[in-house]
Amino acid sequence: MSVINDLLGGFATALSLANLMYALIGCVLGTAIGVLPGIGPVAGVALLIPVTLNLEPTSAIIMLAAIFYGTQYGGTITSVLLNTPGESASAITTIDGYAMTKKGRAGAALTIAAYGSFVGGTAATVGLVVAAKPLGSLGLAVGPPEFFSMMVLGLALLVCLAGDSMTKALISGVIGLMIAMVGIDPVEGAPRFTFGNEFLLDGVSFVAVIVGLFGLSEILNTGTERPGKVETPGFRALLPNRTEFRRSNPAVARGTVVGFLLGLIPGMTGSVSALLSYGAEKRFSKYRDELGSGAIEGVAGPESANNAHANGALVPLFTLGIPASPTIAVLMGAFLQQGLTPGPSLFVDHSELAWGIIASLFIGNVILVILNVPLVRVWTSILSIPPAVLTALILVFMVVGSYTINFAAFDVFVMTLFGLVGLGLRKLDIPLAPLVLTLVLGPLMESKLRESLEISQGDFSIFASRPICVVLLLIALVIAATPLLRPRRRKTRSKENQHEAA
């Protein structure tokens, strides 16, 4: 039970009035930063590192962790209210989150998002406390071939994202892969589809694409007719009702598991977790047919997943000293600047501090909920701004946000272009979710395939000789094959109906 003692000691370190203040300031700052598209958690944490340099190590890390949680939640706010993802991990939340806003359930969506984030984050931190070492080695078992197989599995979920038409879903998915092809290829190092433009060497900026695809195209589509005309709901209507709560629980649980497990694997990103969690809802939720038209599961799942992912990603940092995601890399920089080397020895050499940090992760999660649930009211009041003014404000917001991704006007062009592309896709009734899925998975899949084949020296049997790969690929095959079976059954059933009618 020494773990519990250590953790309690950690709370004793972390729970000073000053530290709580830092956590509070961090959450507020973080949320404010996260609300701006373009500045996601990575930049948010990095920009504020200098502020924390003169603090005690525990206070500094507490504040940064709080900023990190805050930015992530801030991204959700704009996704839900304005259909403009503030950062990449909440891209998929826009689909159902914004649909809920249209139905006047914005408050419920935001509250459930905070609730899911809290559960996901806390559960993942418990995992970190209880079983960091074995979980760390679990992450290591995933080499490039396993990673690739996992991406194939993710891609297979595309069939679950298809609405009425599989053809349209595949078109959308292929467009995503095509966009993902832009940039320096990992095989020969040659620039692909860059047209000599060096801004394209790294590929098209993901955030600019999704801000255009979702946010701008929505504005273009509806003109000034904003559905924001819902009168600001009273406090009770802000909270999720009992059904919404009940329905969100299984989604939160699934999202937490998906996010936490993927978080253990270095190189996996929070957006992959959110997407796969959305795919899982589409596949397993009781209410899967409602997804896409404002189902609470579409917010609860991905939001729990990306927060569980963020906390799960701390496992490789604490057990192996590997920064598993860009945000963790920034946090690692903060550790180093405080003179701490992340890794197992941190718990030996600076045990009090290490446990203080873990305790502060719990505290950060709690503060996030306490702070944001009452603020939901403030956020949703944005919707009572007259539509014409609100639209103009959002446009400014999207342009500034795209620009600040990299301080380059080029990303503003990308955003605008994809606004038009998104408008075209909407008019043709082509779903956007498959595009986002392939755009996120495509580049990871390509580099992992290449790495696997470099390890095997070009021999494809590497995927058949590893048990984890085989299992993953088989599951992918089953998922991809289900729609081939289902419509036939439906057809036969309808035939039977015809027979009965006759």
Binding site: V42, P144, A329, Q337, F407, E451, Q457
Partner: protein
């Protein structure tokens, strides 16, 4: 005839006008040089890599001290992308008035212009190197139970089973790729390279998960794992040993002349007036050698190695020569 005379007169006239314009500009410029930096006008440091990374962290440590020396505010701006190319272009093309300079790190800044396929819009002479701050040598590391113990063992193993030993790089034409290619060229050994184009964290994960055999990477990327005993560094590719691994020999000590380091310094766009460049160099030399800054850089796992603008320029030119000769090898299949 008339026409020719007219042309001669006109060009003479133009010449005079041009010269006087130059003189005026120079005169105005001189006054501006003396007043540089104007109080209240901020100086921008362009960093070509992500916030929180080693290049960015080093610059953000330096900025506040530099502010005190120069008496104006200093902002670190991240312009990232294309392995640094976007930020380097921004630095090279900035107005050479001393209010913008950038972090320059090799091999990225050296390699980008060498390969025409990358379409880099700058070359070495578009920069005026001001100072070098850190050096981060390439280190070859193995798992603790590996029979490979020294650079000699590593080379022998690569000769005995050509292409069988899996070695990580952090992507094509990165410092790691050049380092291994150079070693292969000079010794005749051959390794199975696996390029982790997503970066060192991915390479390290595959190495610790035993999916590859040997990890090659910057010293700063493996200090933490070495301290934990998860990996064992066997050789440093620098002219001297690393202060972080005093017991690990250099390749040079064992008779292999391969020096591959990442060095990170600061450069202004070429054409910046000498008076301003000298002021910047002076301020940088004081700040970069300040014991407080040196200690903080070491905390980051980076080895401080100050070089003046002149020395930095020479080192840069030397690396350029080396990489130019290695580039064709890295493109072979």
């Amino acid at each position: 005839m008339k026409l020719r005379r007219f042309a001669a007169v006109a060009s003479a006239g133009l010449l005079v006008a041009g010269l006087s314009a130059c003189a005026q500009a120079a005169g105005g410029g001189k006054a501006a040089d003396e007043n540089w930096p104007r109080k209240g006008k901020p100086i921008e440091i362009i960093i070509a890599f992500d916030p929180g990374g080693p290049a960015d962290s080093a610059a953000r440590l330096v900025a506040p001290e530099l502010e005190k020396k120069l008496g104006t505010s200093i902002q670190v701006v991240n312009k990232t992308g294309a392995g640094g190319q976007v930020g380097y272009t921004a630095t090279a093309r900035a107005k050479p008035d001393g209010y913008t300079f950038g972090g320059t790190g090799s091999p990225s800044v050296v390699v980008a212009p060498l390969d025409p396929a990358r379409g880099a819009k700058f070359k070495r002479t578009d920069f005026r190197p001001l100072a070098n701050q850190v050096i981060d040598p390439q280190v070859v590391a193995v798992r603790p139970d590996s029979p490979i113990k020294t650079p000699k063992d590593f080379v022998e193993a690569g000769k005995k089973d050509p292409g069988k030993i899996r070695v990580t790089t952090t992507g094509l034409q990165t410092g790691e790729h050049f380092a291994v290619a150079d070693l292969e060229r000079k010794t005749g050994a051959k390794y199975g390279l696996v390029h982790f184009s997503d970066g060192s964290a991915q390479a390290m994960t595959a190495f610790l998960g035993k999916h590859v055999d040997v990890y090659v990477g910057s010293a700063s990327d493996l200090i933490s794992q070495a301290e934990e005993g998860d990996l064992r560094p066997i050789g440093i590719m620098d002219t001297k040993r690393s202060p972080f691994f005093p017991d690990v020999p250099t390749f040079k000590e064992q008779g292999f002349d391969v020096n591959h380091t990442t060095i990170r310094g600061y450069s202004a766009p070429a054409g910046v007036p000498d008076a301003i460049a000298q002021k910047l160099e002076k301020a940088l030399s004081e700040v970069l050698q300040d014991p407080k800054i040196v200690a903080m850089i070491k905390e980051l796992g980076l080895e401080p190695r100050y070089m003046s603008g002149k020395d930095y320029e020479a080192y840069w030119a030397e690396q350029e020569k080396n990489y130019t000769s290695l580039l064709p090898i890295t493109k072979e299949k």
